[in-house]
């Protein structure tokens, strides 16, 4: 362990001496001012005889574990709280933190600081947030045993920490007591399912804060991965309707409709109002169907072509619908009256000539259901015919939507 490393728990209650080596008091807390510097301790709060004093970082001459803190300037002002200040002891210690690399929610047990030099005086730089058993041991023993003994005792336990670089210090808000210090950019890089796992473990205020901040597309993916429909609804209801509408627009229409149907009438209407017209109509149409029928399960993300189209037309149509490509495995053919006539497994396009007629590539049997078919019948069909995509038609046999295997998996998992 290097000499210039200091833990926050060691800094706490360290004695502070003035120029003439008189003891002023002990350190009570340390604060960052994220707007000025993201990792340098800006102020030390020292408990004087009557009140707390503020020591600015450039008033400190030297800091050492053995000898305490010596000041280079003694014009100290009394402590007063301000909203730009993030106090480590008050705002960070013991709070929940998201470990983006480890994809979990843990608690801040301690903070490690590096003692550096700048312009002839010592400064403290926040290095890591300490988690795990080692830091717990240190916290428990601090003040009971001498600091050096504790350092020796903790030696055999492997350290566990999260680098402060991962923490993006958001402005502390004393009212909402939001103590998440994570980079939202990092969250957006995570897989939506991992993000959802983390979000599920947080308290509502933190959950909403995350969804308020991250990109709507990422938020939509993560929200669909949240398993509990009630939690999904709670998150959406808590958001500003405009933001909620942005997120809902990014979701697949069937999921969006399912989610909105979980909400209270008033809330879902507010969100629908804020949505763009094309998305809104799609979702509204889906909302009409009962949840446990084919109509309620289906989504409207499919590609349908005219009966007489050839492979070239199909490729052109796919090029115009790139956002659908990820989940697509079947194309549909419809006649003049938009009635469903055939289904073509997407893979067959690859082995067919460019001018081959799509009709000739169609699957031999076509399974389809009506919008009012019951949910359990639909799952039976998927099982019986090993389907990936099942077309849903309305009363006039017009193609209304498709149900995909992932819809079936979520239905089965909810049982």
């Amino acid at each position: 362990m290097t000499e210039n490393l200091l833990f926050f728990t060691e800094l706490l209650s360290m004695p502070v001496f003035d120029l003439k080596d008189r003891r002023l008091g002990r350190v009570k807390d340390a604060a960052l001012v994220p707007l000025v510097h993201a990792s340098r301790i800006d102020r030390l709060l020292v408990g004087g005889e009557y009140s707390w004093l503020t020591v600015r970082y450039d008033q400190v001459r030297s800091v050492s574990l053995a000898r305490g803190i010596h000041l280079g300037d003694e014009v100290l002002v009394p402590y007063h709280d301000d909203e730009y200040m993030m106090r480590i002891g008050r705002d960070l210690l013991d709070q929940q933190i998201i470990d983006v690399t480890g994809r979990k929610v843990v608690r801040v047990n301690d903070v490690s600081l590096a003692i550096g030099h700048e312009g002839g005086h010592d400064i403290l730089i926040v290095r890591d947030v300490d988690i795990g058993v080692r830091s717990i041991l240190r916290r428990l023993l601090q003040g009971v045993l001498p600091r050096q003994w504790i350092r020796r005792l903790q030696q055999p336990i492997p350290p566990k920490s999260i680098s402060w670089d991962f923490a993006n210090v958001v402005e502390p808000d004393p009212l909402r007591r939001l103590r998440l210090n994570i980079s939202y950019a990092k969250l957006e890089e995570m897989h939506p399912a991992d993000l959802a796992d983390i979000v599920e473990e947080l308290a509502p205020a933190e959950r909403e804060a995350i969804f308020e901040t991250i990109d709507s597309e990422v938020a939509a993916d993560a929200l669909s991965e949240v398993e509990d429909p009630k939690m999904q609804a709670n998150i959406l209801e808590a958001l500003d309707p405009e933001k909620a509408a942005d997120i809902v627009e990014e979701m697949a229409p069937d999921e969006a409709a399912d989610l909105l149907s979980e909400l209270e009438e008033e809330a879902s209407e507010e969100i629908l109002e804020e949505m763009d017209t094309p998305d809104k109509t799609e979702v509204e149409e889906l909302l009409e169907f009962e949840e446990d029928t084919a109509g309620g399960m289906m989504n409207t993300e499919f590609v349908a072509l005219h009966e007489n189209a050839n492979v070239g037309d199909a490729i052109a149509a796919l090029k115009g619908n790139e956002d659908l490509l990820d989940g697509l495995n079947t194309l549909f053919l419809v006649d003049e009256e938009e009635k469903l006539s055939a289904a073509i497994p997407l893979a067959r396009l690859f082995v067919a000539a460019g001018d081959a007629r799509l009709k000739d590539l169609a699957a031999e049997t076509m399974i389809q259901v009506r919008v009012d078919e019951k949910q359990h019948r639909v799952t039976e069909l998927f099982d019986k015919y090993n389907l990936l995509t099942l077309p849903v038609v309305d009363e006039d046999s017009k193609l209304a939507g498709v149900i995909t295997a992932d819809d079936i998996i979520s239905v089965l998992r909810q049982k």
Partner: protein, 412 residues
Amino acid sequence: MRQVLSRFRYHLAVFFAVIGPGFITAVVDNDSGGIYTYSAAGSQFGYLPLWTLLPITLLLVITQEMCSRMGAVTGKGLSDLIREEFGLRITFLMMAFLVLVNLTNVMSEFAGVASSLELFHISRYITVPLAAIAVWLLVVQGTYESVEKIFLFACVFYVTYVISGFLVKPDWKEAAIYSVRPVLMLEPSYIYMVIGMVGTTIAPWMQFYLQAAVVEKGITAKEYAESRIEVIVGCFMTSVIAFFIIVACAGAIWSVKPRELQDAAEAAQALKPFGQYAFLLFSAGLFNASIFAACILPLSTAYTVCEGMGFESGVSKRIREAPIFYSLYTLLIVVGAGVVLIPQFPLVRMILWSQVLNGMLLPFILIFMILLINKRDLMGEWINPRWFNVVSWVTVVLIIGLTLAYVGILLH
């Protein structure tokens, strides 16, 4: 026939829709320790102890209501809040004590498993290890949630006490009078029994469990009004069952000859209107209550500790991802079940001590709860009204007084 079946299924669905955290807590509250304590009270003192049920219910409602309110408003568990507001050292002490107390509680649950099946002469060396393995697997394999419904349904068993309470033709007039007339006797065994009843009904782990369950279910401040009703109904249900256990024992055992219960076979006498089935019913009920609590207690303890201390927790995680969570969970079950198997282990004394420890920890937890629930920045408009604070502090003082008396008697 099909229609009858589907109607039955509908009722079942409604039944499970209304039950929530409050109901489950209430059911687990009448665990093996509860059944034993109430039975002992009724057999030894008849209708006299009935008056304690009203104040106990009041205490129960007050504590449970505060927990569920905190859970709904903050969305955080009790151990999370203690850690965030009072720091690591206090949390650590609290958690260490809680693990110890809950370990003794787990022991008494496995003791309940052992004695319920020993009524049929099945050795505890077979039943307890099997039960421990089953409990461990249920939770680790993630099948617990579906099995919970079976446990809850099996709690219909308590109805047998209600039926028995009527069939033994107790003296209803006397029961009614003693329900509202406090009888204070300075006889040590009487005081001892009263304190035991309070201790077994209001336990520390319930506060953590209930609050966590409210959070887990995603109940928010907006929906809290309905949840509050459920919690209060649950509390009354606990007491109603306690009432009938005491009445049944008073009618069937005490009216014949007042005596101290020696073993489970004697306690089963309370169900004697069921004739040859009395043993079976009693044993099934005791077994279900014990194993239900044996599932919930270690799991709830592991969650509470890991969340407070900031370790990864959750049954959805793999063992490698949440090592401390799983070790703690396993340790509680292994030690809890293992101790029951030690020959000549003073099991009864252990169970009594577990109630003393419960009683000693409870006031501290209540004090933290009252401090937390009065923080406006946490609870906003949901902080305690003044009269509620007065009642809660009186509760704390009462429980501390009772605990001190209890310890005093025990040491005497």
